[in-house]
Amino acid sequence: MPTLVSHPDEVKVVSRRFGLGAEAIDKYIELDGYKAVQKAIEQGPEWIVNEMKASGLRGRGGAGFPTGMKWSFVPKVSEKPKYVLVNGDESEPGTCKDHVIFLHDPHAVIEGTMIAGLAIGAKMGFIYLRGEYRYLLKIVEKAVADAYAKGILGKNIFGKEGVDFDIITQTGAGAYEVGEESALMESLEGKRGVPRIKPPFPAVVGLYGGPTVINNAETIANAPHILLMGGEAYAKLGSERNGGTRLFGISGHVERPGVYELPMGYSLRKAIYEVAGGIKDGKQLKAVVPGGSSCPVLKADEIDVGLDFDQMGKAGTMLGSGGIVVLDETVSIVEFALRTIRFYQHESCGWCIPCREGTDWLKKTLTRFHAGGGNKKDIDNIQYLAENMMGRTFCPLGDAAAMPTLGFIKKFRSEFEEYLAGARVEHPLIQIQPVGEPELAGAH
């Protein structure tokens, strides 16, 4: 069971009910639960969207798209039914924030889904969790059943004639790619999780061909809080153009790893050294992957930056999914890069050639390099491969593999050069694969 952590610098909005037993519906209602959705029913769609816009909330899955704007793109009139789809297929390495939301506050996700539905005129919502989260699915399923039993979901909710909302919950079956919104729709339709070509965007043609709003679970869980406190008040908690707070999962070589809710724009240095207690065992910081494994790495002297989408962008990296992975001085970047690319190679759906072939060649080249069989051209080749994947695939998985690779080469080129000259990892974690031999059984 994940341990709950706390720090005085935290500003608890989405995590306000964590650890208070709010997975039980009565407790949730006692803690202001399902008030926001009733307010939303009274005030109507325009008010909801305006509050969401005013809140400055940006998508917490990684792309950071303004949520209110996304909701406003859905056509008012549609022949086909509209849908809300909650993306709980949390799979970006370094990210485990939705895990704690589903565990501690599943009703907030349900209420947020209903609010999104009211905003766009949908009568059905889906909550899709990753397949590994079966125990969390059971928690969410129970929450949904309890909400139905109380007349909060179903027909004529809260006794309001003609206001209906249904929620279906399910899990995936293991695929990182399904976290991409169009692949998620494919998966929910019972197909292979291969992305769709955009446009049309889901807001126009989405699930089952109907207009669909797809939001990350944390984004959705923020909606009730925003409507209760008001969009402007929420915006003020964060930094410019980055409203509110965010759940940051700090993992790796820190003293107190955990999921902390910090205001947008909070200092990355403070997050590591104060909130998470600094580097484990008194070691030195070497690097930080600031927002899940697809974000370009930051060096130890580059962490004086605010944790919001714009400031991270200026620093040449991304806020991504908020998964901050901290590396101490003992980590070999060559090995870390190999592990990162092995993941993307494993998860590429294989549709777009630059991603399918690119990730495979990156893995092969890095595997050989790691084994000591690299040659002078390899470093440039890795860079060339990654540069040629960027922007050349239908979904962002190709970019997600290329960006960190380019970051490792750019920031730690000397380490790759030293490795080439004979420097080795003292205790390799990843099994060294003899050069020129077929893949070892067990490596993937």
Binding site: M1, P81, G174, A175, K191, S251, R339, H444
Partner: protein, 169 residues
């Protein structure tokens, strides 16, 4: 709706499948959950499972196989009663994931995707399981075990071997 005579599933699972096939706007949406629940019951997705799910959802067996081959949690061969899935992705790697994997390989005497001769355990090296802040983490079937060391892992395995382990389904 064509009534599909239940052939291989327990009455509870069959009832669950009937319901699943009816709740979505399009029936096929039930495929992935059904594959998982079928695997939980049968142990793997057998030819018989593929045939019956295809019938239940009015799909070709080919459609079912196409989906089956895409998702990493679905398997076409039996695993151990307890499938030990060790994460070695970045956050777990930094806190001993590979050490844990090696330890499991030695303790269980099997490699990646191997099954012990008594069929009790199988082992898998898996990608990120979403427990990064409690690394290194392992899933045994659907149950999470966090913040592990080789010694703690031994205790977890001993619990399962003695029938005391939690089996989330």
């Amino acid at each position: 709706m064509a009534v599909v005579p239940n052939t291989i599933f327990s009455p509870e699972t069959a009832a669950r499948f009937d319901k699943l096939a009816s709740i979505y706007p399009v029936k096929r949406s039930a495929l992935i959950p059904m594959l998982l629940y079928a695997q939980d019951e049968v142990g793997y997705v057998s030819d018989e499972v593929v045939a019956e799910l295809a019938k239940r959802l009015d799909l070709l067996e080919l459609d079912v196989r196409g989906v089956l081959s895409y998702y990493s949690m679905l398997r076409t061969k039996p695993a151990g009663k307890y499938n030990v899935q060790v994460c070695t992705n970045i956050s777990c790697m930094l806190r001993g994931g590979f050490e844990l994997l090696d330890h499991c390989k030695k303790t269980l005497g099997i490699g990646h995707k191997g099954v012990t001769p008594d069929g009790l355990f199988s082992l898998e090296e898996v990608e990120c399981i979403g427990a990064c802040c409690w690394a290194p983490a392992v899933q045994v079937n659907y149950d999470f075990h966090d913040d592990l060391t080789p010694a703690k892992m031994d205790a977890v395995l001993a619990d399962y071997a003695a029938g005391r382990g939690k089996d989330v389904k």
